[in-house]
C-alpha cells in the first residue's frame, strides 16, 4: 500500500503554513501522538496510538480503542473507507482524502482544523482555578501568622511580668499571663499563694531556692539534730530535691522508701560519725528492733530492745494483773466486785491517736481513797504533797484532841476522855500538854502507817529520812511514760479494730516494771514491707516515720533554737 501524505504545519518563526510531503509504502500507517507514528499528530487531544490505516479492499481508516476513547468527536469506533473527497476529523485535525496520483493507492492531506488555543476559550477561561493555591490558600502566610500569634500569646505577653516589659497591663487585660505556663495544680496548702509564680520562682532562670520555701516554713524541723551537722550531710540538696510541686493537689513528695533507704541502708557510713541508728532497708525484712524511750533517774534514755525484756522504773506500784482480774476487784463502797477493763483508766484523748494522762484524781481515787482514820472515813489526806499530808493528819488529831466529843475522842485515841476545850473550866498547863502529847503521838503513828504501810506505800515508792525534827517522807517522783516511741507516728484510732491485748500483753503483769510495748515482730504480723504482700498492710518508711523530726519530743529539756515550731510531725505514744 503506497500512500502519499501531505501535512500542514505552521512555521514557528513567521506563522506561515508549510506543507510537507511524505511517501509511505507499508502495510499499515499509524496515526497518533506517538512520535513513531507515520501520521504524527502532536496534540494532547490525540491518543498515542489513535488510529491505523490498513488495506482492507482499499485503504481503510480504523480508529482503535485508545483513539476511540480519546477521540474528541465520537465515542464509538470508527471504520471508514478512504475514498477521494472524504474527510475524517481527528481531534483538532482534519484528514482529507485526495485523488491518488499515479503509483499511489491513496493521497491524504492532514489539515489543522483548529489551533489548540483558538476555538472556545471561554471554558478554559473559566476553568483556571483548579488547584488549592489558585483559590488563594497560602501555606507560608498561615504558618508565619500562627507562629507569630503563638510566640506573642504564649511567650511575649506572659513573660512581660517576669521581665518588666511595658505591656504588662495589656497582657493582664487579655488574661495572657504566666498562668499559661503553669504546668499543673499546686498542692492544696500552696493554693493560697495562688498564681503568684514569683512567690516561689523569685529569680528567672534559677531553680526555686530554699530561701523561698523557708520564708513560710521557717520553723520546719531538721532531719537530724545540730550535733550531727545536717548542713554538711545534706550538702547539695534543696527542698525541691524531694518536694516537687505542680504535681497535683495532694502532696509534693512521694511515699517512697528510696528517699530514706538511699542513706539508711548503710547509715553508719553515710553519717560519717557514730550514730545510734541502725541500718534499715525494709520494714518486713530488715528493720532493727524498736528503741524505746524510758524515763530514768538520770533522764530519758533511749534503749533498744534486746534479748532480755526491758524494765521500767516508774516509781509506782501498779500490778495490771490485779486490776484486770476477770473476777473483778474489790470496791471500797460497793458490795459487788468491780470488773475493770483497759478504758477504765486509758481514755482516748481528743486526737484519738493516744490517751489522756493518768491521774490520781480521775482514775485511782474512786477506789484508792486516802482516809487515814478508820472512825472518820470522810477525811482524807490531800494527794500530791507529803508535807501537806503530814500536816493534814496532825491538824486532824490536834483538832480532835481539842474539840472531839467523848465518842470520837475515845474511838480515835483509845483512852477515856474528851476534847480539851469541852472539859469545864480553864485547862491546866498539864492538861494542855497531855492533850498535845496524845494528839502528836497518834498523828505520828498514823503518819508512819500512812507512808510506810497502808495508803501511800500501796502505790508509791516512799523514802524516809530521819532528821532531828523526826522522820520525813519523800514520795519518789512518778515517771509514767507517755511517749514510748517518739520517732514513730502511731495512731491508736487506726488500730481500733484490734483489742488492746493484741499488742499490750498486761493481763498477767504483776509489776509495773514490766514494759508492755509490743515488739517489732508483733507489728510485722500485720505490716509488710514496702512491697505488697498478701494479707499484709504495705508499709513504707513514711507510714510511721517523718523526715523533719528534729524536735526530740522524748527529751523534755530540748528547746528548738528557732522558737515555736508548727511542723510537729513525730509524736504518739
Amino acid at each position: 500500500m503506497r500512500i502519499l501524505l501531505l501535512s500542514q504545519s505552521r512555521n514557528r518563526a513567521n506563522g506561515r503554513l508549510v506543507t510537507t510531503r511524505k511517501e509511505v509504502d507499508s502495510d499499515w500507517v499509524r496515526v497518533g501522538r506517538n512520535a513513531s507514528s507515520e501520521i504524527h499528530l502532536a496534540d494532547p487531544r490525540i491518543a498515542l496510538d489513535h488510529a491505523l490505516i490498513v488495506d482492507r479492499d482499499g485503504p481503510t481508516y480504523l480508529e482503535m480503542e485508545a483513539g476511540a476513547l480519546a477521540g474528541a468527536q465520537r465515542a464509538n469506533y470508527k471504520s471508514e473507507r478512504l475514498t477521494p473527497g472524504k474527510t475524517i476529523e481527528i481531534g483538532p485535525y482534519r484528514l482529507v482524502v485526495d485523488t491518488a496520483p499515479e503509483g499511489f493507492d491513496c493521497a491524504l492531506r492532514v489539515e489543522m482544523a483548529l489551533a489548540s488555543d483558538s476555538g472556545a476559550p471561554e471554558f478554559l477561561q473559566r476553568a483556571r482555578q483548579l488547584s488549592l493555591r489558585s483559590i488563594g490558600l497560602r501555606k507560608r502566610t498561615v504558618a508565619m501568622g500562627l507562629m507569630v500569634i503563638i510566640a506573642i500569646g504564649a511567650f511575649f505577653l506572659p513573660a512581660a511580668k517576669v521581665f518588666d516589659w511595658p505591656w504588662v497591663e495589656g497582657a493582664k487585660l487579655l488574661s495572657l499571663t504566666d498562668r499559661l505556663w503553669n504546668p499543673g495544680p499546686v498542692m492544696l496548702a500552696h493554693q493560697p499563694v495562688g498564681m503568684k509564680c514569683e512567690a516561689c520562682h523569685d529569680v528567672a532562670f534559677q531553680q526555686v531556692r530554699d530561701a523561698s520555701c523557708l520564708e513560710c516554713h521557717a520553723n520546719i524541723g531538721q532531719h537530724i539534730g545540730p550535733d550531727l551537722k545536717p548542713a554538711a550531710l545534706f550538702d547539695g540538696q534543696r527542698c525541691a530535691s524531694c518536694h516537687r510541686d505542680h504535681k497535683g493537689t495532694k502532696a509534693t513528695h512521694k511515699d517512697d522508701d528510696r528517699l530514706c533507704v538511699d542513706c539508711h541502708r548503710d547509715i553508719k557510713t553515710h553519717a560519717k560519725q557514730e550514730v545510734a541508728s541502725q541500718n534499715v532497708s525494709d520494714f518486713a525484712k530488715d528493720h532493727p528492733r524498736f528503741r524505746l524511750s524510758l524515763p530514768r533517774a538520770q533522764g530519758v534514755q533511749r534503749v533498744r530492745e534486746g534479748a532480755s525484756p526491758l524494765e521500767e522504773f516508774a516509781n509506782l506500784n501498779f500490778p495490771h494483773a490485779t486490776h484486770l482480774d476477770p473476777k473483778g476487784i474489790k470496791h471500797p463502797t460497793k458490795d459487788k466486785r468491780v470488773v475493770l477493763d483497759c478504758d477504765a483508766c486509758h481514755r482516748p484523748d481528743v486526737s484519738k491517736r493516744t490517751f489522756e494522762p493518768i491521774s490520781m484524781a480521775k482514775h485511782c481515787s474512786e477506789c484508792h481513797n486516802l482516809a487515814f482514820e478508820p472512825a472518820v472515813t470522810t477525811r482524807q489526806v490531800p494527794h500530791g504533797s507529803a508535807a501537806d499530808a503530814v500536816a493534814a493528819v496532825r491538824e486532824f488529831y490536834s483538832d480532835l484532841a481539842l474539840t472531839g466529843t467523848r465518842d470520837s475522842f475515845q474511838a480515835a485515841f483509845a483512852m477515856p476522855g474528851e476534847g480539851l476545850l469541852r472539859r469545864p473550866g480553864q485547862p491546866s498547863a498539864e492538861a494542855r500538854e497531855a492533850a498535845l502529847r496524845v494528839a502528836r503521838a497518834k498523828s505520828d503513828k498514823v503518819t508512819r502507817e500512812l507512808f510506810e504501810r497502808r495508803v501511800c506505800k500501796e502505790c508509791h515508792v516512799v523514802r524516809r529520812a530521819d532528821t532531828e525534827k523526826g522522820p520525813e517522807w519523800e514520795i519518789a517522783k512518778v515517771r509514767i511514760n507517755h511517749t514510748w516511741m517518739p520517732g514513730a507516728r502511731f495512731n491508736h484510732a487506726s488500730h481500733a479494730t484490734e483489742k488492746c491485748s493484741s499488742c499490750h500483753d498486761v493481763e498477767k503483769s504483776k509489776t509495773s516494771r514490766d514494759v508492755a510495748m509490743p515488739k517489732i515482730d508483733r507489728c510485722q504480723e500485720c505490716h509488710g514491707g514496702s512491697h505488697p504482700e498478701m494479707n499484709k498492710v504495705t508499709s513504707n518508711c513514711l507510714l510511721c516515720h517523718g523526715f523533719h523530726v528534729d524536735q526530740h519530743p522524748w527529751d523534755p529539756a530540748f528547746k528548738p533554737k528557732t522558737g515555736k515550731r508548727f511542723a510537729a510531725s513525730a509524736g504518739g505514744p
Binding site: 485508545a66 501555606k139 504564649a154 502532696a251
Partner: protein
C-alpha cells in the same frame, strides 16, 4: 523503633521522685531528644529544597522524616508523663500530635492517590481533558443551534456555565452538585422525545457529545481533586509545624524562666 523502645524501657525502669513528668532527669533527656528531633524534622522543609547538595538521598530523608516523626509522638508522650493541661505545654503537645497526624494523612494520600490518579487520567493530562472539553463545547454549541429553544437553553447553559474548580469545596470534593451539563443530560432524553426526523438526530448527536463532555468533566474533576488531596494535608502540616516550633520554644523558655 529502637529509639521508641529504648525510651519506653527507660520510662518504665525510671522511678521518678513523685510521679513521671518532664522535670526528672529522664524527663529532661526525653525532652531534649524530642526537641532536637522536632528541629531536625523541621529542617526537612529546607533540605527538600536543596537539590544540589546530597548528604543523603531525598528519598532517604523523607523516609527518616516519616519514621522519626512518628517516634516524636512516642517520645514526647513519655516526656509528658501522660500529664496534660490547658497550658503552653499542653498546646505544644497538641500541636505536635496534630502536625504528625496531618503528616500521616499525607503519607496515606501519597501511598494511595497517585495510582488512582494514573488510572483516572489514562493517556490524558488535565490540560488535554480541558482542551477536549473546549472542543466539545464548540461543537455542541454549533450543533445545538438547530434545536428547539428550550433545549438550546439547556445546552447553552452547559456550554457557558459549566464550572471546573474555582472554590475550595468544588476542588476538594471533585463534584459540582449544580452542574449545568449534568442537568442537561438529565432533562434532554425526556424533553427530546417529541422531536422528529433530522432534529431528533441532531438531538441525539448533541446528547452523545454532552455525555462525552460529562465523562471528561468527571475525570477532570477527579483529577483536580486528587491533586488537591496530595496538597491539602500540607496546608495543615506546614503551618502546624511552624506553630509547633513557636510553641516548643515558648514551652522550653517558660519552663526555665520558672525553673
Amino acid at each position: 523503633m529502637l529509639l521508641c523502645l529504648a525510651c519506653a524501657i527507660a520510662y518504665v525502669w525510671h522511678e521518678p521522685p513523685i510521679r513521671p513528668y518532664g522535670g526528672t532527669w529522664l524527663g529532661y533527656t526525653l525532652g531534649t531528644i524530642g526537641g532536637l528531633l522536632i528541629l531536625w524534622l523541621l529542617w526537612f522543609g529546607i533540605r527538600k529544597r536543596r537539590y544540589a547538595r546530597h548528604s543523603a538521598s531525598l528519598r532517604g530523608w523523607l523516609s527518616a522524616h516519616v519514621y522519626l516523626g512518628v517516634a516524636v509522638v512516642v517520645i514526647a508522650t513519655l516526656h509528658t508523663g501522660f500529664e496534660l493541661g490547658w497550658n503552653i505545654h499542653g498546646l505544644a503537645y497538641v500541636l505536635m500530635v496534630l502536625t504528625v497526624a496531618s503528616g500521616l494523612v499525607g503519607v496515606y494520600f501519597y501511598a494511595t492517590v497517585p495510582a488512582l490518579m494514573t488510572r483516572n487520567r489514562g493517556q490524558d493530562t488535565l490540560d488535554a481533558m480541558l482542551l477536549k472539553i473546549a472542543d466539545l463545547d464548540r461543537n455542541i454549541a454549533h450543533k445545538a443551534l438547530s434545536l428547539p429553544d428550550e433545549l438550546l437553553a439547556l445546552v447553552n447553559d452547559s456550554v457557558h456555565k459549566t464550572r471546573l474548580g474555582g472554590s475550595f469545596g468544588r476542588i476538594l470534593s471533585g463534584r459540582d452538585p449544580d452542574c449545568p451539563t449534568a442537568r442537561a443530560i438529565r432533562v434532554i432524553p425526556e424533553a427530546g422525545k417529541s422531536l422528529q426526523d433530522e432534529i431528533a438526530n441532531v438531538d441525539h448527536e448533541v446528547y452523545a457529545m454532552l455525555l462525552r463532555k460529562q465523562e471528561l468533566l468527571t475525570r477532570a474533576r477527579r483529577d483536580m481533586r486528587f491533586k488537591a488531596l496530595m496538597e491539602i494535608w500540607l496546608f495543615f502540616h506546614v503551618p502546624l509545624s511552624l506553630a509547633l516550633l513557636a510553641a516548643l520554644l515558648a514551652h522550653v523558655v517558660s519552663v526555665f524562666v520558672y525553673w
